[in-house]
């Protein structure tokens, strides 16, 4: 970088429209052109609309102010139920994904998985959900962007959920698609279409997510 005035980071900020370059050297300009070409190549290989949908799905749900419970009809009972869900002690508590009032766990025969854990093709997993009586679905978005409904497998509508049976029936064997796979548990008190939930179009659903790295 001997004949450079600006760092890569500054050039990137410039490309993002946040920094005006004053007196850039020829080496700066050449590097800027390289970065511009890399940016264009990256954007050419991604579906921006799809990425935005996934980003929106991954946003943590907004938390309601606690005092609203007190003024809602039956608020105290609802608050008590919510506290029961969150406080329930469990030795593997740090592995539970607490979504918006639901918990989500993924088990292999030998361990309980946390986000970031590595899994291999062929490994069998089962899902566990903690939620009030209602309707649930579990789907995954794999490294290629493909969405698969795992529970109820291949279905278009969520299945009825009974909180006395937290571990969902059936196991799935992971396929060989490498990369991060996002598993989403989706819950509602009312029946819902899974496709609509995937697109974020069902009001009132609660979602929890676990990301596994498939090798």
């Amino acid at each position: 970088m001997a004949d450079r005035k600006y760092t890569d980071l500054q050039l990137e900020r410039s490309l993002a429209g946040e920094l005006a370059l004053d007196g850039a050297t020829p080496a700066d300009t050449a590097r800027l052109d390289e970065l511009r070409a890399e940016n264009a190549a990256f954007l050419a290989q991604v579906d921006v609309d799809l990425e935005v949908r996934r980003i929106q799905q991954r946003r943590p749900p907004a938390k309601a102010a606690w005092w609203r419970w007190l003024f809602a009809g039956g608020g105290l009972l609802a608050a008590a139920a919510a506290i029961m869900l969150v406080v329930r002690p469990k030795s593997e508590d740090d592995l539970q994904i607490k979504g918006d009032g639901i918990t989500f766990l993924i088990h292999t025969p030998s361990r309980t998985l946390a986000s970031g854990d590595a899994v291999t093709a062929g490994e069998k997993i089962r899902f566990e959900i903690g939620a009030p009586k209602g309707f649930v679905a579990v789907y995954g978005v794999d490294g290629s962007g493909a969405t698969t409904v795992y529970y109820p497998y291949g279905a278009s509508a969520a299945a009825a959920y009974d909180p006395t049976t937290r571990v969902l029936p059936g196991a799935i064997a992971l396929d060989a698609t490498p990369g991060a796979e996002h598993f989403f548990a989706v819950y509602s008190t009312e029946p819902f279409a899974i496709d609509a939930a995937v697109m974020g179009g069902v009001p009132g659903v609660r979602t929890a997510e676990i990301v596994l790295a498939k090798k």
Binding site: T7, L9, Q10, E12, R13, L15, A16, G17, E18, L35, E38, N39, F42, L43, V46, V48, D49, E51, V52, R54, I55, Q56, R58, R59, P60, A114, S115, G116, D117, A118, G143, P178, G179, A180, H182, V211, A213
Partner: protein, 162 residues
Amino acid sequence: MAGEDVAELYRRHAPALHRRCASIVGNPDDARDLVQETFARYLAAKERGDAPFAVLYRIATNAAIDRLRRRKTRNEAELDAEAHAGEAGAAHRIDNAHDLAVLTKGLSEEELTVAVLHHLDGYTQDQIAASLDLSRRTVGKILVRFEEHVKKRAARNEFANG
């Protein structure tokens, strides 16, 4: 923020964030996933300025380092990293992202970003200050704190090993 605004934000910043994450985790698929995570965290934040690059960059760097921490088993990584840290001038010889992932545990987003730029990317303090709109003095203080953090971890390791 509306979907079209998020799309514009993504087009403007995602390529640089992807480059940042890929340089740390070494895998373009993981980097793409980390870019999504970065935007999701940014959009969930209460305060977002008019110039989001520095904030997004800090979030992306932290997310990527955090992914490395999870990828390697903790004990193995700490033994590797603290063995390096126990040697003289350790902080200056950290050239491995995995080591850095362990050594930076507990640092703030800003501290971690500065440490990664200096020790992994080889930026000078002046370059970091200019790139992140920080004062040279602030960058210097952050790096001193980082070196103290590394020494403490090394000392703890020596104590634990008798």
